[in-house]
């Protein structure tokens, strides 16, 4: 009776102590056992290590969210959305800037391929990553600038200096990443102001010039030197640059307009689209007349048309394929249409007709779509005798540009990865790397930013003593879409390269919330000035949008695995770092509930080799 009384006192199982078979005492004989059929301290089932039953085991494993590899600038999207969702806005903005010194710009002009892979798509619409980036980018402009890193002493100066040709997004991004690592970057540009096509090409209603100026001043403050109004090949020889600097980054972009190749092209009133935008962006007086005809279907064509609209003209865009083949960002096409830009598809110019030396009309020929060409788009085929004259006061050519690399030694060619080949030696030219529009598959700002980052990575490795071919090989570890923070930060949790799709997401744990959209000026208001059309997110909207992120395959310590484990063997590790849980594999039976109930697929079940 006395023994029974003792054994009935409750004693807690303390999960903080090592729970193993060694802790559980056995009984030496019947005299040790209790008199009643009740449990006793010491008679614990911990003696039974049920881990031996298992043939699969759970492992915590952060994987790659689908947005991440899609970002040409290699931003850690999930990371900054996470910080923003927790209300740590400034940290989120800093994390974003670590990868991209142009967040406010990209948040306005990027074509956001990240959103097309978002697993949220079926659950209220993809997260508005693009608009959140703009909110964080604007916030970053108000944060103190990054301090320049300490530089090497004067003696080693030449060995730490890099010349960058072109102060566009690629060149400035490369310079910024180098400066942050204590490498002196000097950027040459023939324009009087920095920014490249961001400054001269993109109109202010998409990218206000003060936003760009502030963003660039941040880059300069980080220790980048700008030499403006200097054209390489005219004011300074390329060979001089090579001898004065240890490495050269070619990021001069695509500037030389492609000729249309039709009669009448040199008539007054026929103008290159980028030149037209450039004059507007530098504040010159531009009068496109009553009717402007824009030829082309890319972003430059949309910019020309919408800019002409704001200057009182009635723009008509002529494109030789159909809407589906247009290379412009679809939102831009929609906006243009909404504002009143007219479109004529399957039309190509055959002749520009003049009157008294000035353009009067564009003679166009109808087309139909033929077989796909090298780009995968269907080739336009002109239809015989289907000409049509369209009246025009101005004709703006936006049919694409080419690189002008006449300053390079003859014969040099650019490789896809950015290496420059010299056919005379058959090798890559040491210390010379190309990026931006010169090498990227899509001629977009975010791609330029990514290639600038990749260039900085290669050049830094070269400057720290590796051979040029070894440095180029680094591109395999750091492709364009990589996050510097992930690569450089010690202690960042390992991340598997497996990209998680919607099948790994447990939608039961997420409410269906609709995607927010940013406010915009009404079309009537928008076309009256060059004021920014897109009004962006306020803080509350941006945070709410960040909270919609699933954080695909990145453990957010939501506790589901802990809560739903039937054995109670998922435990919290002491400490705050990620990977906060541990699973007691001595007892795990491998039921898989933790993996099934993980909202975001951060637990994998792997087969036991027994």
């Amino acid at each position: 009776m006395r023994r029974a009384k003792r054994t009935i006192s409750p004693k807690r199982y303390n999960p903080k102590l090592p729970a193993s078979a060694a802790d559980a005492k056995g009984f030496r004989g019947a005299s040790d056992m209790p008199a009643a059929s009740v449990s006793v301290p010491g008679g614990s089932m911990l003696v039974c290590e049920t881990g031996s039953w298992r043939n699969v085991r759970p492992v915590f494993e952060d994987k790659t969210p689908p947005c991440l590899p899609r970002c040409p600038a290699g931003e850690n999207i999930e990371g900054h959305l996470d910080l923003l969702a927790r209300g740590r806005d400034a940290e989120a903005a800093r994390l974003l800037r670590e990868d991209n010194p142009f967040p406010a710009t990209c948040g306005r002009v990027c074509y956001h391929p990240c959103e097309s892979g978002c697993n949220r798509a079926e659950w209220g619409g993809a997260v508005a990553i693009h608009s959140v980036e703009r909110y964080l980018g604007d916030l970053a402009l108000r944060l103190p600038a990054e301090k320049p890193a300490a530089r090497a002493g004067k003696s080693g100066r030449k060995h730490r200096r890099v010349a960058i040709i072109g102060a566009g997004p690629a060149g400035l991004t490369c310079a910024w990443h180098l400066a942050k690592r204590g490498i002196e970057a000097v950027v040459f540009d023939r324009e009087p102001e920095p920014g490249g096509v961001l400054r001269t090409g993109i109109p202010a209603y998409r990218l206000p010039k003060d936003v760009l100026a502030m963003e660039i001043s941040r880059i300069v403050e980080a220790g980048v030197e700008l030499r403006l109004g200097v054209e390489v090949g005219r004011d300074i020889a390329f060979e001089d640059l090579r001898s004065a600097y240890r490495a050269v980054f070619l990021a001069c972009g695509y500037h030389r307009p492609r000729a249309l190749g039709v009669p009448g092209e040199s008539l007054k009133g026929v103008e290159d689209g980028l030149d037209f935008l450039r004059r507007i962006n530098y504040g010159q007086k531009v009068t496109p007349g009553r009717r402007s005809v824009v030829i082309g279907g890319g972003n430059t064509a949309m910019d020309c048309a919408r800019a002409a609209l704001r200057l009182g003209s009635h723009p008509l865009v002529i494109y030789r394929r159909t809407r589906g083949e247009m290379p412009a960002i679809p939102e831009e096409v929609l906006e243009a249409e909404r504002e009143g830009v007219e479109f004529l598809f399957l039309m190509q110019p055959a002749e520009v007709r003049g009157k008294g030396g000035r353009v009067a009309a564009v003679r166009c020929q109808r087309c139909r779509l033929g077989e796909p060409d090298a780009s995968g788009r269907r080739r336009p085929v002109p239809i015989k005798d289907s000409f049509q004259d369209l009246a025009a006061d101005t004709v703006l050519l936006a049919t694409g540009e080419d690189a002008d690399l006449s300053f390079l030694p003859s014969g040099w060619t650019l490789g896809d990865n950015g290496a420059v080949l010299d056919p005379a030696t058959g090798h890559e030219v040491e210390g010379v790397f190309a990026g931006g529009d010169l090498t990227t598959s899509r001629k977009m700002v975010a791609n330029a930013v990514g290639s600038g980052k990749a260039a900085s990575w290669v050049i830094e490795k070269y400057l720290s003593g590796r051979s040029w071919s070894e440095s180029l090989a680094e591109l395999e570890h750091a492709p364009t879409s990589f996050s510097v923070a992930r690569l450089e930060k010690a202690g960042a949790p390992p991340r598997s390269s497996e990209i998680v799709d919607a099948t790994s997401i447990n939608f039961d744990h997420f409410p269906k919330l609709s995607r927010a959209s940013a406010g915009r000026l009404s079309s009537e208001e928008a076309i009256r000035s060059f004021a920014e059309v897109n009004q962006g997110f306020d803080r509350a909207t941006a945070e709410a949008e960040a909270r919609r992120c699933f954080h695909c395959a990145v453990c957010s310590r939501c506790d589901n695995c802990f809560v739903f484990c039937p054995e109670g063997i998922v435990r919290h590790k002491p400490g705050k770092a990620c990977g906060d849980y541990e699973i007691d594999l001595s007892y795990c039976k491998g039921c898989g509930i933790c993996a099934a109930e993980c909202p975001r697929g951060a637990i994998s079940m792997i087969r036991e080799n027994r």
Binding site: F550, K573, I593, A596
Partner: protein
Amino acid sequence: MSKQKRTAPRARAAAPAAPAEQAERMPSGAVMERRLAETEYFTPGSVACPGCGGALAMRHFLRAMGPETVVVIPACCWAIIAGQFPYAALTVPTVNCLFAAASAVASGIGAGLRVRGDRGARVMVWVGDGGTYDIGLQSLSGALERNEDMLYVCYDNEAYMNTGIQRSSATPPGAWTTTTPGGKDMAKKNIMEIITAHRVPYAATVSLAFPEDLREKVKKARDIGGARFIHVLAPCPPGWKCQSSETVKLSRLAVDTKLDPLYEVENGLRWRITVEPRNLPVEDFLSRQGRFSNLDANDVRRIQAEVDRNWAVLRRQAEVNPL
């Protein structure tokens, strides 16, 4: 033995405070913020099958009940799961008893505790569906009628699982068991209506997929005097012929298809639905389990109709007699 009066729920002395949380956690991105970090009273090493709903249920009930709990277990899966005498996977006192006797044994333990002046300990009776719906029903009814001071929990895996999947009166219509190889013809007994007919102070249904709701109800029941009853559906991977990883998923689907609505009833009279179901078709629940694999579209339609009818009755109860 002092007969307790049938009164509205009354609070007991406060339960011992939960230990402080172990580490700061960031629930960002998580929909459900669950900061449940109290001590476990269910140790690893139990012989529950992988993915056992009954094991998960015990874990959460004991976390909510706390250390001052005596568990009474008659013949059922849990008589096996807890381990062989003298070993036990529970760190609170546990009494095993005969199949039909759980409520009677609990009544006796309650009386004994009172005689010894122990006002803090609570008796939790832990019984499967066989011991509740069938074999233990008369002793349960007696204890409820006497309003014994106990929390009676039925973890319902819808058949006699540990003896080899024989049908019980809790087995749902259409389900395969070894004794209903063509699927059960009869409806599932509505145990909650039987219990509430006793006008007990508190009765509730909980689900493994809704741990906050479960916890709230168990804590509420813990601190009420008299007879309390909680029903928890406990998916059984071997018996239901489902994936062991789907226990929680199936629990959630049972709620969302209205098969296992979550509600509470005070004094048998005041009803409240605590979780609004997502109103999914029952097929979502049925199609994930091998035990329903021989159902045809007509069977599914019939089951759906019955579920809709039961839900309408419950909804009306909650509207006419709200809590």
